[in-house]
Structures are given as C-alpha cells and as structure tokens.
Symmetry: C2
Subunit: 272 residues, 2 copies
Amino acid sequence: MLSLPIAMLVEYLLLQMVFQVILLSTDRWAEKDVNPALFSRELMRNSSNFLNDEEVNRDPQSLLMKAHAATSSIGSATVIIAMLEKTGTLKIASVGDCGLKIIRKGQVMFSIYPQEHYFDCPYQISSEAVGQTYQDAVVCSVNLMEGDTIVSGSDGLFDNIFDQEIISIVSESPGVDEAAKALAELARKHSVDVTFDSPYSIEARSRGFDVPWWKKLLGAKLIGGKMDDITVVVAKVKTVAAPEDEGGDIEQQQGDEQGIAVAVASAEQNEE
Amino acid sequence: MLSLPIAMLVEYLLLQMVFQVILLSTDRWAEKDVNPALFSRELMRNSSNFLNDEEVNRDPQSLLMKAHAATSSIGSATVIIAMLEKTGTLKIASVGDCGLKIIRKGQVMFSIYPQEHYFDCPYQISSEAVGQTYQDAVVCSVNLMEGDTIVSGSDGLFDNIFDQEIISIVSESPGVDEAAKALAELARKHSVDVTFDSPYSIEARSRGFDVPWWKKLLGAKLIGGKMDDITVVVAKVKTVAAPEDEGGDIEQQQGDEQGIAVAVASAEQNEE
C-alpha cells in the first residue's frame, strides 16, 4: 500500500477515474432517420460533466440518473459506468450488455453479466419511456489490488473473444495501451471470421438458435464471429491507498507513479 | 420499498444475515490423520460468533480475518461469507471455489468466480502458513432488489449444474426450500452420471485435460459429473428498506414480512 501526497489525493478525489462510459446505439434509430450516435454521445458528455458534481461523483448509478435526465437527444444506448476510488474500490453501474472483467494473477476474478430482454436484445437507457433507467442498472463494487487489470468493453468485444484469450493478451502485453489495441484487433478479426466458433455463436446455439434443418443434415452448425462495433478499455491498478489515507496525515510518496493506467481502443464495423 | 418498524430494524442490524459460510475441507487432511471437518466447522462457528461483534459485523472480510485468527484446529477450507444488509446491499468475501450467483428476472445478473492455483486446486484458508488469508479474498458487494434470488454453494454444486438449470429450478420452485432441495438433488444426480457433459468436464477439456489417446481414437472424450460434497444455500429478497430508513423516523410496516427467506440443502458424497 502506498500513501499519496495531498495534491494527488485531491486530484484523485476530484477525478475519481470514471474511466469508462461505453455507449452503444442500435440500428433501429437509423431506420427512423435518427443518428444513433447522438444519444450515446450526449449521454457520455453529460456523464463526464457530472464528474465534478459532488452529489453524484462517488455513485455511478446516481451519475447515470443525472446524465440521463440531462440528455435531450433521441435514441437509446447500453451503458456501463465504472469509478475507481483511490482506495481501490471499483464502483460499477451497468445497463445492458457491455461487459467488465477483472483479471488478477492470471485469472478472471470478477465479471459483469449482460442484462437482456431476450437473446441479442439488451436493456437500454433510452429517450423513450419504454426504455430502461438507472433503476434497472446492475450496481456493484469490487475491491481491487495493485496489479489488477480491468478489461471493459462493448458486447462486440466479449461476443468475439474468450476469457482465456483476454487473459493471454493482458499477460503478454507490455502495457495497457498494447493490451487494448491487441484485444480490439483480435475481436475484430474473430468478428469477421465465419469459421470461428465465437462466444456469441456458442451462446446462440445454447439458446436454441441454429442453421436450417437441411444445412444441419449436411453437418453444418451455427458458427462464426459477430459483426459489431468494438470498444475496449483496459486499465491497470498501479497503486492502492490505504483507507486511512483519505484524510489526516499524508506521507510523501516516492516517484511520480499514478494510481491507474488506462487505454482505450476501438474497431468500427459496418454491418451492411 | 418498505420501511421497517424499529424492533425489526434493530434485529436486522444485529443479524445482518450472514446467510452463508460454506466451508470445505480437502481429503489431503484425512491422509494426514486429521479430521478434515474440524477446521471448517470451527471456522464456521467462529464466524457465527463474531456476528455480534460490531467491529466486523458489517464487513465480511474482517469477519473472516477474526474468525480465522480464532481458529485453532488443523486443516484448510474454501470459504464464502455473504452478508445482506437491510437496504439490499449484499457484501461478499470469498476465498477459493465456492460460488454465488444472483438471479434477477430469470437471468444471472451477478456471479462470483472461483480462485485457484491451478485447475481443481482452489485457494484455501488454512491452519498452515502456506495457505491463503483474508487478504486473498475476492471482496465485492452488489445491490439487490426485491425478488432477487441468491444461489450460493460449494464447487460440488456449480461443477455439476448449468446456469440455465439453476434459473429453471429457481423459477419453477414455489419457495426457497424447494429450490435448494431441487438444486442439491439435480447436482447430486449429475455428479454420479458418467454420461453427463458437466460444467466441470467442459472446463477440464478447455484446460487441455482429456482421456488417453487410444480412447480418443475410439471417439471417447472426457465427460461426466464431478463426485463431490454438495452444499446449496438459496435466499430470496422479500423486502428492501430505503437507505434513509437506517435511522430517524420509521413508519409502521404492514404484515409480518421478513426481509429475506433462506433455505439450505446439502448432499454428501463419498468419493471412495
């Protein structure tokens, strides 16, 4: 455990590292002549703005509520908001099928599950009354340790890449930047590989989806990656402050270490 | 959200529902002429005793630390401690391969991952210095809602039963008692079924374990349930109090509803 100088402490408390707001709009809005990116971009911008609001900047669910209320664009999006506090507590609010996994000592030790109405139809924060709200979020927190890696991303990532691949890439990458890029690239590669038995195709078969009967007779099965936009955020915990460091006497910290390293990578995909 | 009368509130705060301490000892200790049940039973007893200790009764990790320090038996055990607060926050500390899943609206929305040194060798709290401690625990919390079902159990449960089976049993059971018994019985049945492609055998194959090459040539593959002791705890959230009910004016609650319903079931299995 490392303690932090006061200046850095204040910075931490202010920033609280909302390291990720992943927002995905669906194609339904494009059909209605609505730019599907507008809603998610505005929701993301509002979430960032409210980071300085003391009332909500320690609570991702309240932040989501405020950001949603302040968003006037038409559209909908799945969303995950994660805040890392300097003591190592990662607070998470998630609506829909974004994912977040914690890798510790070469193992997935924590993971957020997708919420959906039915297969491939995720919960979504929406401009319409029929959508979900902050009240539908999965809200949880997890205590992180030095060395833990956070891998978060859109369904386009986790539908196309297995846990073991994520673990390998994280362990082999020299830094979070390389890891994020490698994860996005591998997911993109798998997403367009019609012969890859992806997590998505395995899940689809387990839900009873399959190729037509006549193809089945020929030995075919539902297989392949899932074409989708892919966003990846990788963060690594470098230092964790002891809980008592939140106030009172603060010792000087050696060096210029930051408490977390973050990298974002994405791969856009057009389904048409 | 329902508010609670003061008497019930106090009861809640005192009890704080440590609804589960699952402890499993390994056969290694039996080989050393140590009764493998002693360590886990004492650790469980100590955990229960410390529930009245204000210093640790809101923090499962600290409770585990104290209970471990007070345990003098020889042995080791995997352990999960979960505390449900009246506001619906479930606090969890887990060392090893016990599991806990939250079922909400027919979906798994939260799950604890097993920690292991290598396949089938879980982290364990131990009387020996080589074992793990409270510091190795996965520590997290999740906000529960009315109607959520908590399914927790030993690896003997989750190695023998799929998420979809858990969801079906939970949704079809009239109460937690029936659900716990049905889960334990199905897991037991699968555990002795050498033709069942269990989560355990799928995981084993994915880690590179398999039948000898000559059996492979005959089309055989590593398959079957996993013989093990099975413990299941099922709990259902009936009411959740609003955060402001923790102090101040409390309105009267209608009826005699309890905040949670809990049932435990187990199936013992002898591997010899």
